[in-house]
C-alpha cells in the first residue's frame, strides 16, 4: 500500500474523531463511492493515458519528457485498428529508457514501466493487474479509454491519474469523470496543441479537469502531484479553522455554504486541489483561494463531483418502475399534475431516467396527467449539461436498448433525448440547503447527495423532504443513505431499494433556510460561526424558554412561505383545503389572513416592526378570538411573525421603531388592485419575451441545420484522410520490414548511437569488429569490447554530434591486416534534428588488395605500353592505328614518312588526307577488316616512290576490338623492295647456274663423244678423258672461288702448265694480270689444255731442251679490250706438220676460240717449234 494513501487514511480517521463545526458528524465510511472499494494493490501510482488520432506524436512527446525513475507506471490506451499489428511498442520504445510492453492478460503493473494496449482488446485493471477482454461493443462503438479509466478509478482511486491526449470524438471524457470522482488526478492536453482536439475539448468540457497542459509539461506535473501527497492539511494542529476559512471563502465567492458538508470528503478534496496546484500547506492554499479568482470555483466543482448515469443502480429503478410509478399514476386524470423533485440532479441523467420510466408507463394509459419533474442543483455548469440533454456514450450504457431507440437520437457523438422527455423536466438552479423547498411534491428522488453532507445536515434535510411531499409522497434515496431514523416522518416502502413514503397528513414546519450566515469579515468569522451554530443548536435553557415561555411565532420568507415555526401555532394557523400551501397567508385562519398580509407588506416596506392589534379570528366552534400580531422584519427579506392573544404585545410608543397599525378593508382592496396591475404588466412583458425567444430559437435551429451539413461533409473528408493514413501506415510497415531485413542481412557493419553515444542499434555484421550482444542496446558505446580503437571512434562520434558534418576515415585493424573505411554520419530524426550518430564500416581489405594488384598490373601494362611505344619508334616497319573514319589514332615515324607527314602531324589526320600510292592501297583492306573483323595479312603493294623507283611493301591489317566490336584497325607495313630484288637476283642466278651446269654437262658429253671416237686404246681413252675433264674442273674450281664472275688468266695457265714444269724451268710466262669472264676462262682452258697435251706428246715438253713461252697482252681500242696470247714452243725437233693429223685436240685449238669467243687463232706447226697465237675480245 502506498505510503501516501496510508498516511492519508490515518489522518482522515483522526479528523473524524474531532468535533468540527459543533456537529455530531462521525462519518467513518469514505464517501467517495468508488474509492471506498479501491484495492490499491499496485506498488505505485498508475497513470492512464488515452489518445486516438494524433496520439503517437503525443505519446512520443510525453515519453520523451517522462523521467524514467519517477516511480510511476504508465498505461497507454490508443484506438488501434483491430486488424493491424501495432507498431507502437517499437515506436515508443525508442523514446524512453523505460521498458515499453504490449499488455498481455494478467500483467501486473510495476513502477517505471510503460504498458500498451494491444489491438482488438478491451483493457481494464483489477487488483493492480491489467486484464484483457474482448470488446463487447461492435467496432465504432468501442470506448477503450473510458473503459480503462473507469476500471482504473475503481481499482486505484486516488492512486491514479488519467490523461486525455489528441484524438477525435469523446472517448476518455467519461472515464476522466470517474477518475476525478475517485480522487485521482485528471490532466488534458491543451486542445490548441493537440493534433486532433476533439477528445481534449470533450474532456475539458466536463469541467472536471485538474490541469490543461502541453504534453511535455505533463510528466513533471504528475510526478509533482504524487510527490506532494505527503504535504497535507492534516498536519495542521487544528484544521477546523482551516475548514472554516475555506467555507467562508467559498461562500464569499459563490454564495454557497459548505460548512455542513462532510469534513472527510471536504478535506480530502481540498487536499487533492492542493496537490494539483502545488500548494505546500494550508496557509499557501488559503492565500491562493483568496487571491486567485478561479480557485474557489474550481474547488467548488471538485467538491460537487459525483458519478451519475442513466438508470444508475438498475435495481432501484426497477423497483421504481414496478411499484412506485403505477402507484403515482393511479387515478390521475388529464387535469392532474404529478410533481417530482430531484434535488442534486447534477447533469440530469437521473430526472431524465425517471421521465423515461414515466413516459413508458403513460403510454399504457388512456388519460394522461401532466408530469413535472423539477431537476435542481447548485452547479450551473452541470445544469447546463442537463438543459442540453445530450449525453456521451458512457452515460447511457445502462439504458435498455429499446428505450435507447425510443427516447434517444444520435447527435454528433452523443445521444440526445427526444423532445417529449425534455418537456417533462424543468431544470433550475436551486440550493437545497439555502432555498425554500418545492412543495406538494409527489416524489422526491435524491440519490447520493446526502452522503456528502454531515449527519447534522442530513438530519435537517429529512424534515424538509417531509415538508415538501404530499401525504404518502415517495422519497427515493441513494443506496448508502437513509432517513436518519426519522421513522416518525417516513416509512420504508422498500428499505433495500431505499424507497420511503411520507407518513402523516400533517405538515411539520421546517426552519428555512437551514443555514444562513451573514457575510462577515473573516476576522470576526470564528465568533460568528459559533454564534450561528449556537442559534442552530440552542442550549437547553434557551430551548426551554423558547418552548415554554416564548409566544408562538413563525418566520416567513419573501414569498411569505413559512420557513420556520415555533410550537403552539395551531391556534392561529391551519392547513387550508385544496392544494396544501406553505404560504402563511394560506395557512392563517380565516380573519387573520388579510391582517397578516397587510402587516407583512407594511413591515417589508418600512423595515420596521408592524403590529396589528385585536384581530378577530372565528374558530369552527363559533368562538372568536382576538389576537395581536406583530410582523418583525429580519435579514434577507424574512419576517418574524409573532402571535399573541390580545393585549399580549407591548403598545406602540414603548417601542419607537415599531409602527402600530389597525387593519382596514379599503387598504386591502387598493393593495390588491395595485398588485393585479403589476402582475398584468409583468405578464405582458413575459409574453413578449417569450415570442422573441421563439424567433431566436427558430433562427438558431436553421443555423444548426446548416452546421450539420457542414459537419457531415467534414466527416466524409476525415474518412478519406483515414483511408490514406491507413495506406501510409501499411507502406510504413513494409518500409520498416524492409529496413529490418536490410539491417539483418546487410554485410556492412553499421552502428547507431544516440546522443549520449549509447548503442541504439547495430547490424549483425558489426560482430566482426565488436563483441556486441543483444542486451548491449542502450549501453554506452565505450563499454563495448572491440578490435578497433574505441576511444578514437568515440572522439569521431562526438565530433559529428557537435558539428553535424559527416566524417570519413580509414581504419586499420589487426595491425593493418584488415582495412576499413569508417564513415560517421549524423543520425537525424524526422524533423531533421541530430539525434545521434551512425557508424558505417566498409571492409576494404579486399579492395585494398585489389588496388595493389591493379597497381602492379598497371605497372606491367605501363611497361608493356612503353615497350610498344618503343617498338613503334624503333621497329623497322611502319605502324599505325586508324578508326572507322580512317583517322589516325597512332602512327610511328616510318608510317608518317610513308604518308608523307611529320610524325607530330599525323594524329587526327585521316588516311585519305594523306592519300598516296601506298596509303591508297590500304583503304579497301581497312574497310574489309572493319566489316569482317578478321585480320588480313601480307597484302603486297608495289608503288612508285617520288624518286620514280618502284618499291615493294608487305602490309598486314589486324582488327582492334573493344567489347567485341572492331573500333580500330592496326596497320603494319614493311618495305620489301630489297628482299624482292634479292629474290629476283637469286632466281636469275639459279637459272644461270642451271644453264651453265647443263651446258657444262653437254660439253663434257661432247668431249666424251669426241674422245671416244678418236681413241681406240681404252687406257689412253680413260687417261685422256680424265685429263680433259680435269682441266675443265680445275677452271671450274677457280671460277667457283670467284663466284663465277671472273678468274685470273695467270691462274688458269699455271693450273694447266704446272704439272709439266716440275722445276725444269722450261716454261716462261709473261703478261699482265688479266681477269677473264667465265666463258672465256673455260674456252681458253680447253684450248690451253689441248695445246699443253700436244706439247707434252709431241712438242717442247717432250725434249729436254724444249722451251715453252706463253706471253699475252691486253689491247684497248674503241671497240673494247682484246686479249692476245702467244704460245711458243722451241728447242726441239718435232715431227713435220704434215705428220700431225687433224685430231679432236687440233680442231678444238683452231676453232673453239673463234667459235665461242669470236676470236682468232693461228696455229702453226714447224719442225723447230710451234707457235699459236690466240686473240679474243673480252
Amino acid at each position: 500500500m502506498d505510503r501516501t494513501v496510508q498516511a492519508f487514511e490515518k489522518r482522515n480517521m483522526t479528523s473524524d474523531s474531532m468535533e468540527l463545526l459543533g456537529s455530531d458528524d462521525t462519518v467513518t465510511a469514505d464517501d467517495a463511492p468508488n474509492a471506498a472499494n479501491a484495492t490499491r494493490t499496485a506498488p505505485c501510482p498508475i497513470v492512464g493515458i488515452g489518445a486516438s488520432a494524433g496520439g503517437l506524436e503525443a505519446f512520443q512527446t510525453f515519453l520523451n519528457s517522462a523521467p524514467a525513475d519517477a516511480g510511476l507506471a504508465y498505461v497507454l490506451v490508443q484506438h488501434l485498428d483491430p486488424n493491424h499489428e501495432s507498431m507502437l511498442a517499437d515506436l515508443l520504445g525508442r523514446r524512453t529508457e523505460m521498458p515499453v510492453r504490449q499488455v498481455t492478460d494478467g500483467t501486473a503493473v510495476e513502477p517505471n514501466c510503460v504498458y500498451l494496449i494491444p489491438p482488438n482488446a478491451s483493457l481494464s485493471i483489477r487488483n493492480g493487474a491489467l486484464q484483457l477482454t474482448e470488446f463487447s461493443e461492435p467496432r465504432g462503438f468501442r470506448r477503450p479509454i473510458d473503459v480503462f479509466f473507469r476500471s482504473l478509478a475503481q481499482d486505484q482511486g486516488p492512486n491514479a491519474a488519467c490523461i486525455v491526449l489528441s484524438g477525435t470524438g469523446a472517448d476518455g471524457s467519461e472515464g476522466l469523470r470517474a477518475v476525478k470522482e475517485a480522487g485521482g488526478l485528471t490532466l488534458v492536453q491543451d486542445p490548441d496543441t493537440a493534433r486532433y482536439d476533439g477528445m481534449p475539448r470533450s474532456a475539458a468540457a466536463t469541467g472536471l479537469v485538474d490541469k490543461i497542459l502541453k504534453v511535455h509539461e505533463m510528466p513533471v506535473a504528475i510526478r509533482d502531484y504524487f510527490d506532494r501527497g505527503q504535504a497535507t492539511v492534516f498536519q495542521l494542529p487544528d484544521f477546523t479553522d482551516f475548514l472554516l476559512y475555506v467555507c467562508e471563502e467559498l461562500r464569499r465567492h459563490l454564495g454557497h455554504d459548505f460548512s455542513q458538508y462532510k469534513r472527510s470528503t471536504m478535506l480530502r478534496r481540498i487536499q487533492r486541489r492542493m496537490q494539483v496546484i502545488g500548494a505546500a500547506d494550508a496557509e499557501a492554499y488559503l492565500k491562493l483561494l483568496r487571491e486567485k479568482p478561479d480557485e474557489a470555483e474550481l474547488l467548488f466543482r471538485d467538491l460537487l463531483i459525483n458519478v451519475t448515469c442513466f438508470f444508475r443502480d438498475s435495481e432501484a429503478f426497477d423497483y421504481l418502475r414496478r411499484e412506485v410509478i403505477p402507484e403515482l399514476l393511479r387515478d390521475k386524470g388529464a387535469g392532474d399534475t404529478i410533481r417530482i423533485w430531484t434535488p442534486g440532479c447534477s447533469s440530469g441523467e437521473e430526472p431524465y431516467s425517471i421521465a423515461i420510466l414515466i413516459s413508458e408507463a403513460l403510454a399504457r394509459l388512456r388519460t394522461r396527467p401532466v408530469i413535472q419533474i423539477f431537476a435542481t442543483d447548485i452547479d450551473e455548469q452541470m445544469l447546463q449539461k442537463a438543459r442540453a440533454a445530450s449525453y456521451p456514450h458512457g452515460a447511457v450504457k445502462e439504458v435498455p436498448p429499446e428505450l435507447l431507440d425510443r427516447y434517444f437520437f444520435a447527435q454528433d457523438d452523443n445521444y440526445a433525448l427526444v423532445q417529449s422527455i425534455r418537456d417533462m423536466v424543468r431544470v433550475s438552479n436551486h440550493n437545497l440547503i439555502k432555498d425554500p423547498p418545492f412543495s406538494r411534491v409527489d416524489m422526491i428522488v435524491c440519490r447520493n447527495l446526502l452522503i456528502y453532507f454531515n449527519a447534522n445536515l442530513q438530519q435537517r434535510l429529512i424534515p424538509v423532504f417531509h415538508y415538501s411531499l404530499r401525504n404518502n409522497g415517495w422519497l427515493f434515496l441513494g443506496s448508502a443513505e437513509n432517513i436518519a431514523s426519522r421513522n416518525d416522518l417516513f416509512e420504508a416502502a422498500d428499505p433495500a431499494a431505499r424507497v420511503y413514503r411520507r407518513r402523516g397528513a400533517y405538515r411539520q414546519s421546517v426552519a428555512m433556510p437551514l443555514f444562513v450566515q451573514p457575510l462577515t469579515h473573516v476576522a470576526a468569522e470564528a465568533d460568528s460561526e459559533r454564534r450561528n451554530i449556537a442559534g442552530e443548536r440552542p442550549d437547553p435553557v434557551a430551548r426551554r424558554i423558547m418552548e415554554r415561555y416564548a409566544p408562538p411565532h413563525v418566520v416567513v420568507n419573501e414569498d411569505y412561505n413559512v420557513i420556520r415555526a415555533s410550537g403552539r401555532t395551531g391556534k392561529y394557523l391551519e392547513l387550508a383545503e385544496g392544494t396544501p400551501s406553505n404560504k402563511i397567508t394560506d395557512l392563517a385562519k380565516r380573519g387573520l389572513r388579510s391582517a397578516l398580509r397587510s402587516a407583512l407588506e407594511n413591515a417589508r416596506k418600512s423595515h420596521k416592526r408592524v403590529i396589528k392589534r385585536e384581530v378577530r379570528i372565528g374558530d369552527d366552534d363559533g368562538h372568536s378570538l382576538s389576537v395581536d400580531l406583530s410582523a418583525d422584519p429580519l435579514n434577507d427579506g424574512e419576517t418574524l411573525v409573532v402571535f399573541q392573544d390580545a393585549t399580549g404585545l407591548p403598545r406602540a410608543g414603548e417601542e419607537p421603531e415599531a409602527s402600530d397599525d389597525t387593519y382596514s378593508e379599503d387598504d386591502r382592496i387598493g393593495q390588491l388592485e395595485d398588485e393585479l396591475n403589476e402582475t398584468r404588466s409583468k405578464l405582458r412583458s413575459a409574453v413578449e419575451e417569450l415570442e422573441t425567444s421563439n424567433e431566436e430559437l427558430k433562427s438558431s435551429n436553421e443555423e444548426m441545420m446548416s452546421m450539420n451539413e457542414e459537419l457531415q461533409s467534414t466527416n466524409e473528408e476525415l474518412a478519406t484522410v483515414n483511408e490514406e493514413l491507413k495506406n501510409k501506415v501499411d507502406q510504413l510497415g513494409r518500409a520498416n520490414s524492409d529496413l529490418q531485413n536490410l539491417i539483418e542481412s546487410t554485410e556492412v557493419p553499421t552502428i547507431f548511437l544516440d546522443r549520449k553515444l549509447r548503442i541504439r542499434s547495430f547490424t549483425p555484421a558489426t560482430r566482426s569488429l565488436f563483441r556486441f550482444q543483444e542486451q548491449d542496446r542502450g549501453r554506452p558505446f565505450s563499454d563495448v569490447v572491440s578490435r578497433a580503437n574505441q576511444s578514437e571512434l568515440e572522439k569521431m562520434g562526438r565530433h559529428v554530434l557537435a558539428t553535424g558534418e559527416p566524417v570519413e576515415q580509414e581504419l586499420d585493424v589487426e595491425n593493418g591486416r584488415e582495412h576499413y573505411v569508417l564513415r560517421v554520419l549524423p543520425y537525424r530524426d524526422m524533423t531533421g534534428a541530430i539525434d545521434g550518430v551512425v557508424l558505417v564500416f566498409s571492409d576494404v581489405t579486399k579492395i585494398r588488395q585489389a588496388q595493389a594488384d591493379v597497381a602492379h598490373k598497371e605497372d606491367i601494362a605501363r611497361q608493356r605500353s612503353h615497350e610498344i611505344e618503343r617498338l613503334y619508334t624503333t621497329a623497322p616497319v611502319g605502324m599505325a592505328l586508324v578508326d572507322r573514319n580512317n583517322r589516325f589514332l597512332k602512327a610511328n615515324q616510318r608510317f608518317a614518312d610513308a604518308a608523307g607527314l611529320a610524325i607530330d602531324q599525323v594524329i587526327g589526320r585521316t588516311l585519305t588526307d594523306t592519300a598516296n600510292g601506298l596509303t591508297e592501297r590500304m583503304l579497301v583492306p581497312i574497310a574489309e577488316v572493319f566489316e569482317r573483323g578478321a585480320e588480313i595479312t601480307s597484302v603486297e603493294a608495289t608503288v612508285d616512290t617520288a624518286g620514280g623507283e618502284a618499291q615493294d611493301f608487305l602490309i598486314d591489317f589486324y582488327p582492334y576490338e573493344e567489347d567485341g566490336r572492331v573500333v580500330a584497325v592496326g596497320i603494319i607495313f614493311k618495305d620489301v623492295t630489297e628482299l624482292r630484288r634479292l629474290e629476283r637476283e637469286l632466281r636469275r642466278l639459279m637459272d644461270e647456274l642451271q644453264h651453265r651446269v647443263k651446258n657444262t654437262l653437254a660439253t663434257v658429253a661432247s668431249i666424251v663423244n669426241q674422245t671416244v671416237a678418236t681413241k681406240s686404246n681404252q687406257e689412253d681413252l680413260v687417261e685422256t678423258l680424265r685429263q680433259r675433264i680435269g682441266a675443265l674442273a680445275a677452271t671450274h674450281d677457280l671460277l667457283t672461288q670467284h663466284d663465277w664472275r671472273h678468274v685470273s688468266l695467270l691462274d688458269i695457265i699455271e693450273a694447266e702448265l704446272d704439272p709439266f714444269e716440275q722445276g725444269k724451268n722450261r716454261i716462261a710466262l709473261s703478261g699482265p694480270n688479266v681477269s677473264l669472264p667465265p666463258k672465256h676462262a673455260l674456252t681458253l682452258t680447253m684450248t690451253l689444255h689441248e695445246l699443253a697435251t700436244n706439247a707434252a706428246k709431241y712438242g717442247a715438253l717432250t725434249h729436254p731442251d724444249g722451251k715453252l713461252n706463253v706471253a699475252w697482252v691486253v689491247q684497248e681500242d674503241g671497240a673494247g679490250r682484246r686479249l692476245t696470247m702467244t704460245w711458243t714452243e722451241s728447242g726441239f725437233c718435232g715431227p713435220s706438220p704434215a705428220a700431225v693429223k687433224e685430231s679432236f685436240g687440233t680442231r678444238l685449238i683452231r676453232n673453239a676460240i673463234v667459235y665461242d669467243l669470236q676470236g682468232h687463232c693461228a696455229y702453226e706447226l714447224s719442225p723447230v717449234g710451234v707457235v699459236c697465237t690466240l686473240s679474243a675480245p673480252f
Binding site: 642451271q994 654437262l1001 653437254a1002 660439253t1003 663434257v1004 661432247s1006 663423244n1009 673453239a1152 667459235y1155 665461242d1156
Partner: protein
C-alpha cells in the same frame, strides 16, 4: 623411223664443243645440211636467208634469249626444237607456244625424237 635425209637444219649453239657434237649427230642422221651459228645475229640472218627445214635453238645465247629468232621461224612455219638447260618450259620467259623442248644434255635418240616431233607437228599444222 622418220627419215631426216635431205633436210636443212639450223643449229643455234654458242658452245663450240656442243655444236660440234650436235652437228656430227645430225650428219649421222642423214641431214643434208647443218647450218651452225653461234650468235643471234647469225641465226636471224640464216633464218632469213637460208631455206631451213627445221631449227634447233639454244635458248640462252651468251645471256640473251633466242625467242625473237624462234618467232621469226615460227612465222615462216619452220619446225623448232628448243634445246635448253632450263628444267622446264615454265622457267622460260616468254616461252613460245607449242614448241618442242629438248633438255640438255641430250642423247642422240632424244634429239632424233624431238626433231621428228617438231617436223610432224609442223606438218599437221600446215595440213590444218
Amino acid at each position: 623411223m622418220t627419215s631426216f635425209a635431205g633436210l636443212s637444219v639450223l643449229l643455234l649453239e654458242d658452245e663450240y664443243l656442243i655444236a660440234m657434237d650436235a652437228e656430227q649427230t645430225l650428219t649421222s642422221f642423214g641431214v643434208a645440211k647443218v647450218t651452225v651459228v653461234n650468235s643471234l645475229e647469225e641465226a636471224a640472218k640464216a633464218a632469213a636467208d637460208e631455206s631451213i627445214d627445221v631449227a634447233i635453238l639454244d635458248i640462252n645465247i651468251n645471256g640473251k634469249s633466242s625467242f625473237e629468232v624462234a618467232e621469226m621461224l615460227r612465222e615462216k612455219g619452220t619446225p623448232i626444237v628448243f634445246a635448253s638447260g632450263y628444267a622446264s618450259r615454265k622457267r622460260n620467259p616468254g616461252a613460245v607456244e607449242d614448241a618442242i623442248y629438248l633438255n640438255k644434255p641430250y642423247t642422240k635418240e632424244a634429239l632424233r625424237e624431238s626433231l621428228a616431233a617438231a617436223i610432224e607437228k609442223a606438218r599437221r599444222s600446215k595440213a590444218a
